[in-house]
């Protein structure tokens, strides 16, 4: 029997869906499937030598980085209600009763925000591992506000501001994903969008994959991810 290929899984909280859904795999050995400590990167987005020493440099790398930025931006309403048009989203309209932020400006805002912690970090991971590097998309939004209200977790004290409409949150997810996928394409990183079977017709996470909090996916979703990653690395 051939030796299983090592797969280093590096990321933040969305990693736990994968950890919990992990099934035995004859081809790949997933290692360190746990959230990285905050100091794993230096200020230039380079993984520290101490951090990399925990991994096999010949391994494949799976990055699941900072998937919650779009949640931070848009789950809870800002005092100044806003919306935006997004040309490559399933939702292309905007609520004109809100302040419209030009897409180009919001794109720039996301790009700068994601630059060091996500984009540069992903590129540096690509260069730090000899195997392929796969970037796993953040889980799609949970559209139903009732679920957020039921499991607000740390957002509990912010719910009075209101939960942003799902259409806006979906566009933010699309923008977040687009910036990362564009970066991956330019940097020889395999970008994995959410598993197609995990989303409804609007691209939102199906109920059976919801975790008991406002933004994460569950073990069943993690199992889908594992299969998706294995397939990508087998090609």
């Amino acid at each position: 029997m051939a030796e299983r290929a090592s797969v280093a899984v590096i990321g933040q909280s969305h990693i736990y869906a994968l950890q919990r859904g992990m099934q035995p795999d004859e081809r790949f050995s997933f290692t360190n499937v746990t959230q990285v400590s905050p100091d794993w990167l230096n200020e230039d987005g380079m993984p520290t030598p101490d951090f990399l020493a925990n991994y096999d440099a010949n391994a494949h790398c799976v990055a699941m980085l900072a998937g919650n930025f779009h949640i931070a931006i848009g789950l809870i309403e800002h005092d100044v209600r806003w919306d935006f048009f997004c040309d490559k989203s399933t939702i292309e309209t905007a609520d004109l009763s809100r302040r419209i932020i030009p897409f180009g400006l919001l794109y720039k805002f996301f790009q700068v925000s994601l630059n060091v912690r996500v984009l540069t970090a992903a590129t540096n991971l690509r260069q730090s591992f000899k195997g392929r590097t796969v970037f796993v998309a953040t889980p799609p939004i949970i559209a139903t506000p009732e679920h957020v209200r039921k499991f607000p977790n740390m957002f509990k004290d912010k719910l009075e501001n209101g939960i942003a409409p799902a259409s806006i949150r979906k566009k933010l997810f699309d923008l977040h994903s687009r910036i990362i996928s564009e970066h991956c394409e330019k940097n020889d990183i395999i970008y994995l969008p959410p598993p197609p079977e995990s989303v409804d017709g609007s691209g939102c996470l199906l109920k059976k994959y919801w975790a008991n909090d406002p933004s994460h996916a569950n073990a069943a979703y993690g199992a889908l991810l594992q299969a998706q990653i294995a397939k990508a690395l087998s090609l």
Partner: protein, 359 residues
């Protein structure tokens, strides 16, 4: 015994070349005579005009004047990005208004009195730009619908600026312009330069003269006073030479024509309107007293020292409080806390995910 008698006897020093300020040192040049009003720190100052007006707006803020910005970026957006997308350069995001006709048409469009046929110019790489502010949005707008939404917000901001201002500072910049022959709409840049494409059958050149410039300014000021009777006006002429001329002659000849028209027009406008002053920033920068030292090596760009001279003079005559001690200066907008707070929550939430995700 005969006594010499002629009209110049007893006139102030400023009326004589040898004794006027600046004659014995360019730094002392002060060509302002008698301002008809002052600007208090709490007065809302709205700025518009050519690119030189950007310097005016910037220095007004630095000097503690209340630059009344009615079109701000959403509070979420960082300052660097706000600046990049031209928020706060002028009171609203109209970009440079080079000609008096542009100012008039901006007001007419904002109040629904003029709807140009051109609404969006396509960009080669996709997206569109606003024909009337083609460089306001780096990369352009993603589609005409987004541009229309942004324009609606922009016009609301223009109306607010007009209706709330105390002082309107307008810098006349150019007389040469490109117009839409179908409806007379004036563009700040020739079609094709920063979007769209030039079509001889639609786009035409026009060089405004004194009468047209005065008529346009009169109409614009009338619109403003109609909505804001207490508005005071300061008119300036940009000292920046033309960057290009569409006429088959030396650009300096076109520049002198353009500046002469604007200077004469400014004189006539200020004579016609109460509480309306001409401020001689053009004279400070271009005066023989300064011997060209306020222009950069390209002979066109105005150097910061020149702008500082202009604004020092401006503050001396129009300010009512020491420049650095403006008690009524609104505090700078605080950085938005929403995102920082949400990121903190998300971080805690994500840490918590390690122990509480039981599904």
């Amino acid at each position: 015994m005969s006594t010499r008698k002629h009209p110049y006897i007893g006139k102030p020093d400023q009326q004589f070349w040898k004794s006027a300020s600046g004659a014995r040192g360019f730094a002392a040049l002060d060509p302002v005579s008698t301002p008809s009003f002052r600007i208090a720190p709490q007065d809302r100052v709205v700025t518009a005009g050519s690119c030189f007006a950007q310097h005016v707006a910037r220095h007004l803020v630095q000097a503690g004047f209340r630059h009344h910005v009615t079109e701000s970026a959403h509070p979420l957006i960082r300052k660097a990005d706000r600046d990049l997308f031209n928020y706060g350069v002028f009171s609203a995001r109209y970009g440079n208004l080079y000609t008096a006709r542009q100012l008039l048409q901006l007001l007419q469009r904002a109040y629904g009195q003029f709807v140009p046929q051109e609404t969006a110019w396509p960009l080669a790489g996709g997206g569109v730009v606003d024909p009337f502010r083609p460089q306001i949005q780096p990369g352009g707008f993603i589609h005409a619908e987004e541009l229309a939404a942004d324009r609606a917000q922009h016009f609301a901001a223009v109306r607010r600026a007009i209706e709330e201002l105390d002082v309107f500072v307008f810098t006349l910049g150019l007389t040469e312009a490109w117009i839409d022959r179908r409806d007379g709409a004036v563009f700040p840049l020739a079609p094709g330069v920063a979007g769209g494409s030039f079509d001889d059958s639609i786009h035409g050149f026009h060089n405004f003269d004194v009468a047209e410039t005065v008529a346009d300014m009169n109409a614009a000021f009338a619109m403003i006073r109609e909505r804001n009777p207490a508005a005071r006006f300061l008119v300036t002429v940009s000292p920046v030479p033309l960057n290009a001329t569409a006429l088959p002659r030396h650009i300096w000849v076109s520049t002198t024509y353009s500046k002469a028209v604007l200077r004469v027009a400014a004189e006539q406008i200020c004579a016609a309107w109460p509480a309306t002053d001409y401020f001689p920033s053009y004279e400070i920068i271009t005066s023989p007293h300064v011997r060209g030292r306020y222009f950069a090596a390209d002979g066109r760009e105005v150097m910061e020292a020149g702008v500082e001279h202009v604004m020092r003079t401006f503050l001396h005559h129009y300010g009512t409080a020491p420049a650095s001690a403006s008690a009524a200066e609104p505090p700078p907008a605080p950085e938005d806390t929403h995102l920082a707070e949400m990121e903190r929550i998300v971080k805690v939430l994500c840490d918590e995910e390690a122990i509480s995700n039981s599904a």
